[in-house]
């Protein structure tokens, strides 16, 4: 029983946490690719930016003496999302729209997004320094422990408060996005434009409006993902820079331009990473009794050493690109 609990704690819960973050990020990447046809490299830094916005807001709340039952960083999330959405619109207007107007190639847009990455990252480090910060300097991080002794386990299933909140928020956002894309006029227009931008224009769809909506969604989802990550781990200026590649891997594996594919891809990459570094000995230890005298399972039976966790995503990415470049779901081609 303890082995199963260990598995749940280490794989199921942390895989789902990571998957939620990857999925929320990958949706933004995939939507921007579908509508604007370029790989938006600065997406990871929009996540970091969102986390820092929430951090500043939470600090303001603390300074004003506002105490909330839920983590403050979580309570200020809606406001942070709005600010992040506006910043995303501003970034588009300032840096991408002029190039788009000139008819720049996707490669140029990609390089421009790297310029934006550097600017955001430089600014964040200039303002906040390069140290690590935490949302939990002033309040404790609640941990829920589900007692499993009734099932013969000695250890509890433990899950932290931000993790629970993250599951709920991710689920709600995914449902909301689904409803938006399939029920609303603008959501359908967005799918139409991703499908066939020329025809969308001919149909009289206000493509500039669709572009703005895309940035609003991508920016606010990136903000949520960044805050979630910061709540779960810690807040660093290079928080999301390290995560932008798995996110791209998720978006590509799911098929670029395909929002549902991005969600599946996010969880796929996250669980692949978690399972690859999971030490199977911990679960298989009872088998030691079945082995002949003098033989035992090695102490560490992880497929990949922990320090190579990031490479798992790239290996999946490269294999996907080689075997099925359009992703598991057929993505947008060129």
């Amino acid at each position: 029983m303890d082995e199963l609990i260990f598995f749940i704690n280490r794989v199921l819960i942390s895989g789902t946490v990571l998957g939620s973050i990857y999925a929320l990020g990958a949706i933004g990447v995939t939507l921007i690719f579908g509508i604007l046809r370029f790989a938006h490299f600065a997406h990871g830094d929009m996540m970091t930016m969102g986390a820092f916005i929430a951090f500043v807001l939470a600090g303001l709340c603390a300074a004003l003496g506002i105490v909330t039952p839920l983590p403050t960083g979580f309570v200020v999330l809606p406001v942070a999302m709005v600010i992040a959405a506006f910043l995303a619109l501003g970034i588009d207007k300032g840096f991408y729209a002029p190039l788009r107007k000139r008819g720049a190639k996707p490669v140029t847009m990609l390089i421009a997004s790297i310029g934006v990455t550097l600017m955001i990252q430089g600014l964040i480090r200039l303002i906040f320094g390069s140290g690590t910060r935490s949302f939990y300097d002033t309040e404790p991080k609640d941990i829920f422990r589900i007692d499993m002794s009734a099932f013969g386990g000695t250890r509890p299933i433990s899950i932290t408060e931000p993790q629970v909140l993250m599951f709920v928020v991710t689920a709600l956002l995914v449902i909301a996005l689904h409803l938006f894309l399939t029920r609303s006029r603008l959501g359908k227009a967005m799918r139409a434009m991703a499908d066939n931008a020329d025809l969308a224009q001919v149909s009289g769809i206000n493509t500039a409006l669709v572009v703005r909506v895309t940035w609003v969604i991508a920016g606010s989802l990136a903000c949520v993902a960044g805050v979630m990550l910061a709540l779960d781990v810690a807040l660093m200026p290079d928080l999301a820079f390290n995560i932008v590649l798995p996110i791209f891997a998720a978006a590509i594996v799911g098929g670029l331009g395909h929002a549902y594919g991005a969600i599946v891809g996010g969880f796929l990459i996250a669980f692949a990473e978690t399972l690859a570094v999971f030490n199977w000995t911990a679960v298989l230890r009872p088998l030691n009794g079945l082995l002949p005298e003098g033989m035992a399972l090695p102490a560490n039976l992880a497929l990949v050493p922990t320090e190579y966790k990031l490479t798992v995503a790239f290996v999946i990415l490269v294999v996907t690109l080689l075997v099925r470049p359009t992703g598991i779901f057929k993505g947008v081609s060129t």
């Binding site: 139409a192 066939n196 001919v202 769809i205």
Partner: protein
């Protein structure tokens, strides 16, 4: 007063102009057909009207005002609609969603328009939930026309609606176009099946080198020996 009137339209994609003075006039009751050899500027004329390329000279009057260089999202609400030749449906969207996209510029209830379209193309009503990409070529053409009709246009422009269709469907499409016209929608279309199309056209335009060569009713043009010799393959 004509529904749409082009006077000496000159335009192109930036380089040398493709249109060198096109003149046309269509009433709301008309079916106008543009024919001519490859590269004559037939599709380009439609695109110029619809703001998809730069008009550098002349005027395009629609409903009494000059619409040259207006963009589609301004033209669709005032009654223009366009069915491109290729890639004219949203393949990943369902048939019904395709129709809804045609009504994007409308803020009023378009339920009755959709019923009207389904009445005209009953087969689409059956397949309303199916992705348009799964339909046959002829059915896709119907989706494309249906989408364009959803904005309740007064002028429907079609770029080679019969291209790539089997002869059976060609007749069906032409019959549909006539039916749409009877419902009070002016038609302006480009056709490769020139003889067949001119047969039911009330206005025919023969273009060559970006200019009008002959203008008249469809029957007149078919009867004109010179047109027949040079443009209708004898």
């Amino acid at each position: 007063m004509a529904l749409i009137e082009l006077r000496n339209v000159v335009g192109g994609y930036g380089g040398a102009p493709i249109l060198n003075g096109v003149n046309m006039a269509i009433e709301q009751s008309d079916i106008g057909v543009i024919v001519g050899p490859n590269g004559a500027g037939k599709s380009t004329t439609l695109k110029a009207i619809f703001g998809l390329l730069r008009v550098t000279g002349g005027t395009i009057e629609f409903g009494g005002r000059n619409i040259a260089n207006s963009l589609p999202d301004a033209l669709v609400p005032i009654g223009l609609s366009f069915v491109p030749q290729e890639k004219n449906v949203f393949t990943t969207l369902s048939v019904e969603e395709n129709l809804e996209m045609g009504a994007f510029t409308r803020r009023d209830d378009f339920k009755d328009t959709m019923d009207w379209v389904y009445q005209m193309f009953p087969v689409l009503a059956e397949k309303r939930r199916q992705p348009a990409g799964e339909l046959s070529g002829g059915q896709r053409q119907m989706v494309a026309m249906g989408r364009a009709l959803m904005s309740k246009p007064t002028l429907l422009m079609l770029d080679e609606p019969s291209a790539g269709l089997s002869p059976r469907y060609v007749i069906e499409i032409f019959e549909t176009i006539m039916r749409v016209n009877k419902e009070g929608v002016g038609i302006l279309m480009v056709e490769q099946n020139a003889r067949q199309a001119l047969a039911f056209a009330s206005r025919g335009f023969v273009l060559a080198n970006g200019q009008n060569r002959f203008t008249g009713t469809g029957a007149e043009l078919i009867a004109d020996p010179e047109v027949a010799k040079s443009f209708l393959g004898g």
